[in-house]
Symmetry: C2
């Protein structure tokens, strides 16, 4: 596969914002089963090897699982404070759960688990997210195995279909829309901000 046209710009942006840990935080919008939008912060975990798919992680017990199973489409909004650039990336969402049968994806899920800090791994052993707050002791479980993911650990992938890049620096600002032609090749056009 070839790197999508917008990847080099994003790589430069990530590099220029590397001093800010928050530059790996972005907001993922999905649609709830009742048709209303949902929106939350997630952490960018890099690209799936040899693809243009963005990696995130989530807990199978979180609300977004139901939303994605109902309608597997998302749009991320990724704002970089230092360089004042915004990437809006829309595309299909793919969940890689414990029972996934694709061996390459299973390996990627396992690798994502191994790359987590011990503290982050422990959260997957906590009581059910969103349920009435459990007693403090319920959060004191032993650290999970560092190599084998807990069953409720999921890898979440976003396969981009469109990218809307806004560069706020400049007068007027630069805005570029990236899309794919009938053969899947990426193209870009400059539009008004």
């Amino acid at each position: 596969m070839s790197l999508a046209l917008w990847r080099s710009h994003l790589a430069g942006t990530l590099h220029r914002n590397r001093s800010l840990p928050v530059s790996r935080y972005l907001q993922l919008a999905t649609v709830r089963a009742n048709g209303r939008p949902a929106n939350r912060t997630v952490v960018f975990r890099g690209f799936l090897e040899n693809t243009n798919q963005l990696k995130f992680i989530t807990d199978i017990r979180s609300e977004k699982i139901e939303e994605i199973n109902f309608y597997p489409w998302g749009e991320i909004c990724w704002y970089f404070p230092k360089t004042r650039e915004q990437f809006r990336i829309a595309g299909k969402l793919v969940l890689v759960a414990a029972e996934d049968t694709d061996s390459a994806l299973c390996l990627s899920r396992r690798t994502a688990w191994q790359e987590l800090s011990e503290g982050a791994r422990s959260q997957f052993g906590w009581p059910h997210p969103g349920a009435d707050k459990a007693e403090a002791g319920a959060f004191d479980s032993a650290a999970p195995d560092a190599h084998e993911p807990l069953p409720n650990f999921c890898l979440l992938l976003l396969e981009p279909e469109t990218v809307d890049l806004l560069e706020l620096r400049g007068e007027p600002q630069n805005r570029s829309l990236y899309g794919r032609d009938g053969e899947g090749n990426w193209f870009v056009r400059s539009v008004n901000p």
Copy 2:
């Protein structure tokens, strides 16, 4: 009206993050006419006087107008880097456009225009957002009147129905869900993060 239960927490958060201009930036998710989610950064412009409604501004020519007219519901995700708190606020979206007949809302729209910088006001005189990039000269119009909004200037309001507050500091993190009872009174419950 009385201040909603979550307002004092948000006021404290805004105060503690006041050194960061980016703390007034947040992400607004809506649903497109084709059912897919949309997500973009908007700037918080304070609360509408004597209400719990959050104020934003937008251009009547932007894509979100069509989305809101089609389905007037939004969810904002507002992450504060300094205090590591996230507010997810869902509710009804209300557009206040030039032809609005509510005199109080018309006044609020006019005030929002007057509070903008000259540079921000000028953008409402620029060529159509999202159209093929116009020549540089098309962005050189004279500064618009500082008192009377251009016709395409809109005030956008979010009337909160639910608030999901996550405080990442702490182990485990604190998460609070705010909602309204049958009589419209706000309540809160603590849930697992």
